[in-house]
């Protein structure tokens, strides 16, 4: 039957707590260590599908970009896009290596932090390496990296999908200049600024295209949780950046498995830790 069938467990919690408390007074065991920055909710989600956190892992890269790069020019700022891409790839590779080293099968809950400065671009990834409980290490090429939360990972796995890796793309362009004549002409009109539209459009397309290329290389069926960050650069208003990234997924079961959600009405004003609606 559906793996998502909610069953209220029949455990006697009070007895469990007493047992746990008594256990602490005994000698500490000698096996089984691990670290994880997952929230306890996420941890319990993983637990329910038989996975466990192994270790906190991180990957980081800082790439320098040449001075004067952001000054006025035309079209795409190729070097910036390249620096972003290479920083993302190195950081993700380092994350992958750390995960493989500790015998994990993948990384979930990755916090992606990116900083674009006029002189350098930094990509920082921090996540939790996970594996099925007690599983043997797999070949490094089979270790996946994803920015899915453990919750999303759980839901996807139950539905028959598997994450394969991160895909990313970035593109930076100079906003095109209008010559003075055109600008004056257009001042009182409603017109589409076609050259702007085109520049933005193509930059967005380029970034997406790069991400898709990554996804195809990983033999994925699709990319989920795509994040798009766009807008003028803080330090150079005439330059606009687009960055996208997401997790490549593939259907591993023969067909998608429905999660058949239960409909609930909540009597809470806001989300609180203890959900009265959950007291079915």
């Amino acid at each position: 039957m559906s793996g998502l069938e909610a069953t209220s467990s029949s455990l006697d919690v009070k007895a469990e707590v007493r047992r746990a408390n008594a256990f602490l007074a005994e000698k500490p065991p000698t096996t089984g260590a691990g670290t994880s920055d997952l929230s306890i909710d996420e941890e319990l989600n993983l637990h329910s599908i038989g996975w466990e956190p192994v270790e906190l892992v991180s990957g980081l890269s800082v790439f320098s970009t040449p001075a004067g790069l952001w000054n006025w020019g035309q079209g795409e700022i190729v070097m910036a896009g390249e620096a972003h891409q290479r920083a993302f790839v190195s950081a993700s590779q380092r994350l992958h290596n750390e995960a493989a080293k500790v015998g994990a099968h993948g990384v979930v809950g990755v916090h992606v932090e990116r900083q674009v400065y006029s002189t350098h671009i930094e990509i920082s990834l921090l996540g939790t390496a996970v594996r099925p409980v007690g599983a043997k290490p797999v070949d490094a090429s089979g270790v996946f990296v994803s920015d899915l939360s453990a919750r999303d990972f759980t839901l996807l796995m139950v539905a028959g999908w598997q994450p394969l890796g991160l895909a990313s793309g970035a593109s930076f362009v100079y906003a095109p200049r209008r010559n003075v004549g055109t600008a004056l002409q257009q001042k009182s009109q409603n017109v589409e600024l076609t050259n702007y539209t085109e520049a933005m459009y193509s930059a967005r397309e380029t970034a997406m295209e790069r991400m898709q290329r990554d996804a195809i290389a990983l033999k994925g069926d699709g990319v989920v949780e795509v994040k798009l960050v766009e807008g003028p650069m803080r330090f150079a208003g005439h330059a606009v950046g687009f960055a996208v990234w997401g997790t490549v997924v593939r259907l591993t079961k023969e067909s998608h498995h429905s999660v058949a959600p239960l409909k609930v009405v909540s009597l809470n004003d806001t989300d609180v830790a203890f959900d009265t609606a959950a007291l079915a």
Binding site: A6, S8, V13, L44, N45, S48, R151, T154, L155, V259, P261, L262, V264, L267, N268, D269, V272, F274, D275, T276, A278, L279, A280
Partner: protein
């Protein structure tokens, strides 16, 4: 104990009269309203109390950490007055208690060293007609939301009163001078630690004394607030607040929660 309605302004009397005829007002949300009805209570009116208080001045010694008792007293009395007035309004309505109490302090431009202390909440009565007044014969007060009120009652505890304790403390500026000589070393500053410790403990002890007076068995949701108000950064008010509770029935009647993943948002 003073006469119950004695010190309420006239306008209040009129508003409360209307409420006594059966109309009720409340700042509860519909969710909270339903949950309060669920445990057999009915809202009777929105009640408040306020007090504009002039806080005196007390000299502080630059290099000394100590409690400023005069300010402590002022802060305490002003809140106590506001609370008492709110309780009086509730008593006037024949309420058993007040839920969702919020205590705030406002400063106005027109009153230097004066502050308005306000307490607001929703008065409720028990539908079974059994009085729920606390040990002091006053309506119980609590800062619990409707949801919290419902949950607390499922655990067999009942609120007795919003309790508080305060302590205004001056922290020495250069009382740590003697240790500054040994630069380059990591040292604990015991005087400092001790001063902060004592100030917070005093506030909490006072809160606990209030709970004891109410015959409570515990205080839940204790919060420690620290504010400098308008005294400068070295004079701090440590305020602790919580709801005193009494165990009234045996067992916890909460059903075991089911874990869920919401697909919202």
């Amino acid at each position: 104990m003073s006469d119950v309605t004695s010190d309420l302004p006239q306008a209040t009397g009129h508003r409360l009269e209307e409420l006594e005829k059966g109309l009720f007002t409340s700042d509860l949300s519909v969710n909270e309203f339903l949950l309060i009805k669920e445990v057999g209570f009915h809202p009777v009116g929105f009640v408040m109390g306020s007090s504009i208080y002039h806080t005196g001045i007390q000299t502080r010694k630059w290099g000394q950490s100590l409690e400023l008792t005069k300010l402590t007293e002022a802060m305490y009395n002003a809140r106590e007055l506001a609370m008492t007035r709110m309780e009086e309004e509730a008593a006037e309505l024949g309420a058993d208690g007040v839920v969702g109490v919020r205590l705030t302090v406002n400063y106005y431009d027109w009153g230097k060293d004066a502050a308005e202390f306000i307490a607001v909440g929703t008065a409720v009565t028990a539908e079974d007609g059994v009085s729920r007044l606390n040990k002091l014969g006053k309506p119980f007060t609590s800062d619990l939301s409707g949801q919290d009120f419902w949950t607390l009652l499922q655990t067999g505890y009942f609120p007795q009163g919003l309790v508080m304790g305060t302590c205004v403390y001056h922290i020495a500026h250069r009382g740590i001078g003697q240790t500054l000589g040994t630069t380059g070393q990591n040292v604990e500053l015991p005087n400092f630690t001790q001063a902060l410790y004592e100030a917070r403990e005093l506030a909490m002890t006072r809160m606990q004394d209030e709970a004891t007076q109410l015959g409570a068995t515990g205080i839940v949701g204790v919060r420690l607030e620290e504010k400098s108000h308008q005294w400068g950064s070295h004079t701090i008010e440590f305020l602790s607040l919580g709801t005193a509770v009494l165990k009234t029935s045996g067992d916890v009647t909460l059903a075991k929660p089911v874990t869920i993943i919401t697909l919202d948002g």
